[in-house]
């Protein structure tokens, strides 16, 4: 059915709005326009889900559709669902991704009136206002949606298609009927046209009734003689003319939002459902395929609403049982949202509650909190209070919505109902309850309560048969990671064990967001044991984040912070700088104080490692101030205070340094970090004897340190002190030990901050075991040419995006830009955009320079490939 003037208007402005009641032919027009204008490769089609309240779900659907177009696939980054993705951030990112768009791309949004979220509508408005000119919009809706369109109208950028425009002309009506194989005499056609007033749904229903009708004249006469509404009269006619099998299928499957052959057979109790669905589609009978394989279909909205009314009127006693069957089927297929909805429609609250509880961890991790909220609201209040698992989920929902008091009340209900959970579900219900209790305790910010809840969770989660195989594993992984994150600020001799287990389980069951956040915390949590492993975990976390588009999510801050700290300790302050900046961006001031403290501390470490002691001092001071706001002992507090004193010494203010050390609590004074800071102070005052006294408990292990770099530094200081005390043998042994400890993680900074070139030179001559390490240190010491040569005044390298790294890898190959584009299956202009950004970030102007610079900062082989 071609309607050239309408199609013309669809393409005429940057934004086109179709606004008309259901049945006006909006969706059909959009489909035929895309097909006939050959836009399938450049039109992203999104149908808004029924009563969509969640900006994240809407934008993920938009991104998905855009990525399926040719221009969109080259520009729009992947984004995987995750808890709490911010719609505004998604739109900002989309605008950035689409900025280089230089060919037409259409975003077609149907059923826009279903977008119930005010936030999402405002975000769409932002996209409309700021999108590049080549991005065109077509928005179809039953009613006018407030989108600030008047501005576009004034600027001549808006085209509107409304009910009167959509109405069929007599000629078009004739064409539509004739396409359906219905040829009418002119007076009959006129009668029919007058009665339907050119309304699309009316004409299409008439065509269905008239196909093969023995007496079209009589049909038209009767139709025009009745006062019944067009849709009701014609639907009855259409149903009348179907076989019993088809009628049964239409009525029964009208309960579903989407239908396939198997489900149709299940609801009709018959067979051949799939063929019937295909026949209906071929007959243009208000059914639309949802996939290319034509396996899933959905009905036209108006049609399905009428069918449901008819079903309730003619077979109301069967409705409950049909919902039961659908619920069971969807549950078996692993489609929990549909399953819960049907179980609720059947008023089978027990089944609905079990389904929701089983699938909650997965829904939560998929960022479906808004849907969970709606599903919870679908239970009667008594069911929510009496069912332990539902009450626990209600608490989690209330917590997410910021109502701590309500959450605690619901937890109380869950607690008292937990005794009545049947045996086979009890273990799992207890784990669920414990996870949510821990979340609530964390929100309340009471450290002793957090510790208590963590212990409880540990007790239930470690019971091997607590959760059932399968779905229970998601809950278990969530429990382990939550537990690990809670524990991570307290140093434990066994290391971040729960995180290790949680991350491994998350990977095994394919839950990348959980794996990502666990890895990010692990990156920092592993630093006390191994910088190499910490850096590796940070790298894995960042890779996962880039693959899934979570580069703005909070946990990535920890991964970046860990990478910055490791690089700073390895004597690469310029490379550390980029990661430190990213950590600072991701972990904002409104984060928990412990997180901000970590970021400030690492900033200090970076400044220290490049000898900017005043900047380091400022950062450690800021971290120290935050330490005062913490209620629980924190992994980094002794290090912060020791480094504060240490920076003061470097700035020549030994008085104040001494005051800092004197003001420490007894607990902090016994830490190894404090001993190191004291030794630095004594050496600065030319008292090597006092330095060795301060170091003794650090060296013999009686004063613990938070990570090995402190121990390395203690031995370096010991060597310097012994050397000053004219004990070359002891000095040499201490330096030897320092090098041994530094070797596995390539720790350079303690040697650079406490230069002892003479001692190191003797080591190099005496033994060869640490030759490379010593060479690296000597290169960094003043008076030697620095490595890499470009370090120093050069601006830091801003972290590269995934695509930029992919392009970068081809630079040493001497393939041309079009050839690289072909290798990567993207357009040449995309490759050029990446090159431009790459050169900007690397601060270079040619390809050869880019390769040199990238090698110097380890972005290119060999070190970039290290695994």
């Amino acid at each position: 059915m071609s309607r050239p003037e309408l199609r013309e208007r669809l393409g005429s402005a940057r934004v086109t709005v179709l606004s008309a009641l259901p049945g006006s032919g909006k969706t059909v027009l959009l489909r035929s326009w895309i097909a006939e204008a050959d836009l399938a490769d450049r039109a992203a089609s999104v149908t808004v889900s029924h009563d969509e309240q969640d900006p994240q779900q809407f934008w993920l659907a938009v991104l998905d559709a855009l990525r399926q177009t040719v221009p969109g696939s080259a520009l729009v980054g992947q984004l995987t669902a995750a808890p709490d993705l911010d719609g505004w951030a998604i739109v900002e990112r989309l605008l950035k991704d689409l900025a280089p768009l230089d060919e037409p791309l259409w975003l077609v949004v149907d059923d826009l009136h279903e977008l119930g979220s005010d936030q999402a509508r405002r975000q769409l408005e932002l996209l409309l206002m700021r999108a590049p000119d080549e991005l065109r919009f077509v928005l179809a809706s039953r009613r006018d949606v407030r989108l600030g369109l008047h501005r576009l109208r004034l600027e001549g950028e808006l085209a509107e298609i409304r009910a009167d425009d959509l109405r069929f002309s007599l000629t078009e009506a004739r064409e539509l009927l004739s396409t359906a194989g219905v040829e009418l005499a002119e007076p009959t056609l006129a009668l029919l046209y007058e009665r339907t007033e050119g309304w699309a749904a009316g004409l299409r229903l008439a065509a269905l009734s008239l196909a093969g009708h023995p007496d079209p004249e009589r049909f038209a006469a009767e139709f025009s003689g009745t006062e019944r509404t067009v849709s009701e009269y014609l639907l009855a006619e259409v149903l009348e003319r179907q076989s019993e099998q088809v009628r049964r299928l239409l009525l029964r499957t009208s309960l579903l939002e989407q239908v396939n052959g198997e489900l149709a057979d299940l609801l009709t109790g018959g067979s051949g459902g799939e063929r019937v669905l295909h026949d209906l589609e071929d007959a243009n009978a208000f059914i639309v395929p949802m996939d290319a394989e034509r396996s899933w279909f959905r009905y036209h909205r108006l049609f399905v609403d009428l069918l449901r009314l008819q079903l309730r009127r003619t077979a109301s006693s069967e409705v409950t049982e049909l919902h039961e069957r659908a619920a069971t089927w969807f549950a078996r297929q692993g489609l929990p949202v549909e399953a819960v909805r049907h179980a609720q429609a059947a008023q089978d609250w027990g089944l609905a509650a079990r389904l929701l509880a089983d699938h909650w961890p997965g829904l939560y991790l998929d960022g479906q909190a808004t849907i969970v909220h709606a599903l919870l609201a679908g239970f009667p209040a008594e069911a929510r209070a009496a069912d332990a698992e539902l009450a626990a989920l209600t608490a989690a929902d209330e917590l997410a919505r910021g109502s701590l008091a309500a959450a605690e009340r619901s937890l109380g209900l869950a607690e008292s109902a937990s005794a009545s959970v049947p045996g086979e579900r009890r273990g799992q219900a207890l784990v669920l309850l414990a996870v949510i209790r821990l979340l609530v305790a964390r929100q309340r910010g009471n450290p002793s309560a957090v510790a208590e809840e963590a212990r409880r969770l540990q007790a239930v989660a470690e019971t091997p048969d607590a959760v059932r195989p399968g779905l229970g594993q998601e809950l278990r992984a969530l429990a382990l990671v939550s537990l690990g994150i809670t524990e991570f600020w307290a140093t434990r001799p066994e290391g971040p064990q729960h995180l290790d287990q949680g991350v491994a389980l998350a990977r095994r069951i394919g839950r990348p967001y959980l794996e990502f956040s666990g890895l990010a915390y692990q990156a920092i949590g592993t630093m006390p044991w191994s910088l190499t492993r910490a850096a590796e975990r940070g790298r894995l976390a960042i890779e996962l984040a880039q693959r899934h588009g979570w580069t703005e999510e909070m946990p990535i801050g920890y991964a970046c912070a860990a990478r910055a700290a490791v690089l700073a300790l390895q004597g690469c302050p310029e490379e550390a700088e980029g990661w430190a900046q990213r950590a600072e961006r991701s972990i904002k001031a409104d984060a928990e104080p412990a997180a901000e403290l970590a970021v400030r501390y690492i900033r200090g470490l970076v400044e220290l490692s490049r000898g900017r002691f005043a900047d380091a001092l400022a950062a450690f001071r800021a971290a120290e101030r935050l330490a005062g706001r913490l209620v629980a002992p924190h992994l980094l507090v002794p290090s912060t205070r020791a480094h504060l004193s240490y920076s003061l010494v470097r700035l020549g203010d030994t008085e104040r340094a001494e005051q800092v050390l004197a003001g420490l609590s007894e607990h902090d004074r016994d830490r190894g970090e404090t001993g190191v800071a004291a030794a630095v102070l004594w050496l600065a005052r030319d008292d090597p004897r006092a330095a060795t006294v301060a170091l003794t408990p650090v060296l013999d292990g009686s004063a613990p340190v938070v990570r090995r770099s402190w121990l390395v530094e203690a031995f370096v200081l010991e060597a310097i002190a012994r050397d000053a005390l004219s004990d070359p043998g002891a000095a040499e042994r201490a330096m030897q030990r320092a090098l041994e400890l530094a070797e596995p993680d390539n720790i350079l900074t303690p040697f650079v901050l406490n230069p002892a070139p003479g001692l190191l030179g003797r080591q190099a001559r005496g033994r060869t075991a640490h030759a490379a390490l010593i060479a690296g240190i000597l290169d960094l010491l003043p008076g030697n040419s620095p490595v890499p040569p470009s370090a120093g005044p050069r601006p830091p390298v801003e972290p590269l995006s995934d695509s930029e790294v992919r392009v970068l890898r081809y630079l040493p190959t001497y393939l041309s830009a079009p050839e690289i584009a072909a290798e990567l299956s993207v357009s040449t202009s995309t490759v050029k955009t990446h090159l431009r950004n790459l050169y900007g970030k690397l601060g270079v102007h040619s390809r050869a320079e880019a390769v040199g610079r990238a090698r110097a900062v380890s972005l290119l082989a060999p070190s970039a490939q290290r695994r």
């Binding site: 259901p22 009613r143 006062e227 019944r228 509404t229 009701e232 609403d305 009428l306 009314l309 009127r313």
Partner: protein
């Protein structure tokens, strides 16, 4: 409870009427008037949404004094 009169175009058959169980539907000329008491604005908007969903043409809506 407030009393309303809602006019829609055409005569509603049994199927359409079943969408408005709390209202009485009576033909008036070529149109139908739905009358009845609704508890609040939310209920009224619910009825309007139903009218929209079924593709009915809304002609007039007014509050009338209770009988």
């Amino acid at each position: 409870m407030r009393q309303y009169e809602i006019w829609v175009r055409g005569h509603l058959g049994e199927m359409m009427r079943s969408a408005f169980p709390t209202l009485r539907a009576q033909p008036r000329g070529d149109d139908t008037v739905l009358t009845g008491a609704l508890p609040d604005q939310a209920a009224l908007h619910g009825v309007l949404a139903e009218i929209e969903a079924l593709g009915l043409e809304l002609l007039e809506l007014r509050r009338v004094p209770p009988r």
